[in-house]
Amino acid sequence: MIPDAPTLLLLGLLGGLLALDATSVGQFMLSRPLIAAGLAGMIAGNMEGGIVVGVLMEAIHLAVLPVGAARYPEAGPASVAAAGAFAGAPESSQVALLASVVFMLAWGWLGGRSVEWMRRLNARIAVPAEGPVDPATVEALHLRAIGVDFARGVAMTLAGLLVLGTLLETLGWIPFREQWTRPALALSAAAALASSLRLFGRRRLPLFAAGAAAGAVLLGLR
């Protein structure tokens, strides 16, 4: 659902700041999907919804490595857009949850492409001309590039909120078979979490199995 104008503004600013946190400024990892979606849900008035969207995306985003010039999806603005739009959906709407997660995956990919576009642009606007250069010039070029990244994050977030909000309002009246959704999301999240073992190395499979056993015990006790 499309939030009201003040909420849109706040979510846009949050998306811009989290886009900066991902690469340009800080890298404190406030832009992780679970944090970004939780904050967006809080702003949009449905923190619980934001956390559910965020934890699913966090699981799927775990194995993304932002190494050098590699292409990778961008989580922050996509998470803010998905959680912000999902916040207005009816609490029990599994179709809205599923659509938000699918959208977040697609929007994160698009965000990654926009980062590539910005890096090509930076080669034109943020690299000083050859020859001696004043430090103030370098500082101005650098800060301009940071400004472009912030604007890109705001734009990605606002566009995402409008696109997903419209989609969710349409899906709201489309009949949907709900009973598959939650198990499917849980299985996807579990598989994604398990896939992170590949980062640590398969030789650590016994440690993974020990953790899984501890998880099974906890589930049995509930």
Binding site: L34, I51, A145, D149, R182, S195, S196, R198
Partner: protein, 246 residues
């Protein structure tokens, strides 16, 4: 060699947080490195504007490093400038360290530390902890290493200059990465099983499908992202199409 004044060091440390602000496909973080170095260069060449401008231009050329270790390079470069090392030697030094600063940081932070801390956050949440607690645990554990690396890099780079490779060898990066990998593997298994529980289903059939999902996740690795995207999209479409066609 005297220390860099505290305000200069503080400015370099703060600026290092934005070293990737102008990342581009031509000079990578070259402009960012010059941005971080600028306070030190202004201090060193306060009486020689021509040398200052020439030095800034040299350091704005192609460079890359892991962002948390870029400040190590910046501090070492400041030390070389302060020692009057010839520009050709400085250029060779930059070429020599950029590969190791990238691979060391990538392996420790992106491959081990960050996933392990993120898994801690997810595991805490799925185990029933509040969102604030899970997020706080992640931010504190992750940024403890992050901020230590920046502060250590600034000190070690200035202290060791050309010999900075020694500091890199002596730093506990390898050991930290190993321990983070161990913890991450345990947390991955723990969180994956708790995520299955979130599905709300019971019984042996669901448990078998869940076990198959874990095996598939391990087998697919990072490709799981695309498989999950296709599967969830198919379920979304099927849920709409099949609603009236049971």
């Amino acid at each position: 060699m005297s220390e860099l004044p505290r305000p200069v060091r503080r400015a370099m440390l703060l600026r290092s947080l934005a070293v990737q602000g102008s990342w581009n496909y031509q000079t990578l973080i070259g402009t960012g490195l010059a941005f971080v170095l600028a306070p030190a260069l202004r201090h060193l060449y306060a009486d020689d504007p021509a040398r200052l401008r020439a030095s800034v231009a040299r350091h704005a050329e192609l460079f890359n490093a892991h962002p948390y270790l870029a400040v190590l390079a910046a501090a070492a470069l400041a030390r070389l400038e302060a020692d009057g090392v010839p520009p050709e030697t400085v250029a060779r030094f930059k070429n020599a360290i950029r590969g190791s600063l990238g691979s060391l940081g990538d392996r420790l932070v992106w491959l081990m530390w960050r996933p392990a801390c993120a898994l801690l956050m997810v595991a805490l949440l799925l185990a029933g902890a509040g969102w604030w607690i899970a997020v706080l645990a992640f931010l504190v554990s992750y940024n403890a290493l992050h901020l230590w690396m920046r502060a250590w890099g600034l000190r070690a780079g200035w202290r060791d200059g050309l010999l900075v490779a020694r500091a890199l060898r002596e730093a506990p990066f390898e050991r930290l990465g190993e321990r983070a990998g161990d913890a991450g593997a345990v947390l991955a298994g723990f969180a994956a099983v708790l995520a299955l529980g979130w599905g709300g289903e019971r019984g042996w059939a669901y448990a078998a499908v869940g076990a198959a999902a874990l095996v598939a996740g391990i087998a697919l690795g990072p490709r799981i992202r695309w498989v999950a995207a296709v599967a969830l999209t198919a379920i979304l479409v099927a849920g709409v199409v099949l609603h009236n066609n049971p």
